[in-house]
């Protein structure tokens, strides 16, 4: 597959996933939307945002404000490259795919922070600093559970990790992995119930001053980030493209959709966590559990 092929594949996956996520989130919003109007909702919303002018504050960090959504989207895209979609692919072959993915996901902190900081306004700024606390608390458990899948596969290449699950998914072999992954992934994508930088208690936090195309780009990039996280989740825990009868890419799409649905559902049904409770939870609950996951899986792999 050529580079262009990978690019097209990533764009299709992320755009399709982002659209599906927006529709699912709309259906779960509790406003009683019908399926038909939910299907057109993302298009209408995007049209309005593209129509609306971009406002600015009186002395923002102009460049950083432009850069932040682009960086977030680019990190989502580069993380998705490492995941093989329909079968072995050059992207999935990257020998250090997991390192690339892990690095990209932690740099999300930078994108979110500068988006909040750039506005020079109090709510976005507090939101940005809050997100730093969130990512510093979940960064380690997140990296640990993803890395644990490399132990039985003896490789950091996501393609090899998928192939290593041909007899048994790591969901079963490493039962702590996927739950911890989903919690930390939701936190890194600042998705409910961990949407601390965008919380209603900050009137929207980092996006308070963002309007029009700026908000649209931010929302699209965030949705792409969610898709990337779901993509990697299904590759390392749910056997990726492996599956009977159907073609590989369809399995990838179905498993990604399942994880996105779980994230959308929990985001809508669970109350937002206090930041200090979350920091405590990350260090005192998630980190030890992730360490147990590492050593238990290592013991089993021996």
């Amino acid at each position: 597959m050529t580079v262009l092929g990978i690019l097209v594949q990533v764009i299709l996956m992320l755009a399709g996933g982002a659209y599906a996520l927006a529709v699912a989130d709309r259906l779960l919003s509790g406003s009683g939307t019908r399926v038909r109007s939910a299907l057109t909702y993302p298009v209408k919303r995007l049209s309005f945002l593209l129509l609306q002018p971009i406002t600015t504050t009186e002395r923002p960090d102009y460049g950083a404000w432009i850069l932040a959504p682009a960086l977030l989207g680019a990190l989502a895209a580069v993380g998705a490259v490492a995941v093989p979609i329909g079968g072995p692919s050059p992207g999935g072959d990257i020998a250090t795919g997991l390192v690339l993915f892990g690095a990209a996901m932690l740099i999300v902190l930078v994108a979110v922070f500068i988006f909040g900081f750039a506005a020079n306004s109090v709510f976005p700024m507090v939101g940005g600093y809050r997100f730093a606390a969130v990512v510093l608390s979940v960064g380690i458990p997140f990296s640990l559970v993803v890395l644990t899948t490399a132990i039985p596969a003896e490789s950091l290449s996501v393609g090899v990790i998928v192939e290593a699950q041909s007899s048994l998914w790591f969901l079963v072999e490493q039962p702590l992995g996927l739950p911890i992954y989903l919690v930390t992934a939701a936190a890194i994508a600042f998705w409910g119930p961990f949407d601390l930088p965008e919380g209603a208690d900050l009137a929207g936090g980092i996006v308070v001053e963002a309007s029009g195309t700026r908000l649209a780009m931010w929302r699209i990039s965030r949705a792409a980030l969610m898709v990337t996280l779901a993509l990697m989740g299904q590759a390392v825990f749910l056997g990726g493209y492996l599956g009977p009868v159907l073609p590989g890419w369809l399995w990838t799409v179905a498993k990604t959709a399942l994880l996105l649905l779980i994230l959308a559902l929990t985001g809508r049904t669970i109350a937002r966590i206090r930041v200090q409770t979350f920091v405590w939870f990350g260090w005192v609950v998630l980190l030890p559990l992730a360490l147990v996951d590492v050593f238990l899986s290592g013991w089993i792999a021996l």
Partner: protein
């Protein structure tokens, strides 16, 4: 071109596509915003000060703890690959390393580094 090259290209393509769309739209506003339109929102009252300040990051002790564990993550990437080959030795070595760090985490917890208000 290998996967890493593709990754770099995809990164740049996304960065440029989103950045340029955003920048072009920001530059082609219908008109210059007035001063009151640019006042930051804080509920309706005009702020007296710039929001930017040397923000008191009260979770700094936790941030330091993160640094310690992040160093450990750097070692764990290659460790995970050779784990099965090295066997029990690798397990015990990493366990010792991690236990020392976990003692640090427990100490930070006892010192209430995870709460700050």
């Amino acid at each position: 071109m290998g996967g890493m090259g593709a990754a770099l290209l995809v990164f740049l393509a996304a960065l440029i596509a989103i950045g340029v769309t955003h920048w072009v739209r920001a530059e082609t506003g219908e008109r210059e915003l007035t001063v009151p339109e640019r006042v930051p929102f804080a509920g309706g009252v005009e702020p007296e000060f710039h929001a930017w300040n040397r923000f008191h990051i009260r979770y700094y002790a936790m941030a330091l703890l993160f640094l310690a564990f992040d160093m450990e993550m750097v070692f764990m990437y290659p460790w995970a690959v050779v784990f099965v080959r090295e066997g029990l030795l690798a397990l015990i070595e990493m366990l010792m390393f991690i236990l020392i760090l976990v003692v640090g985490m427990v100490y930070a917890w006892r010192e209430k580094s995870f709460e700050w208000a």
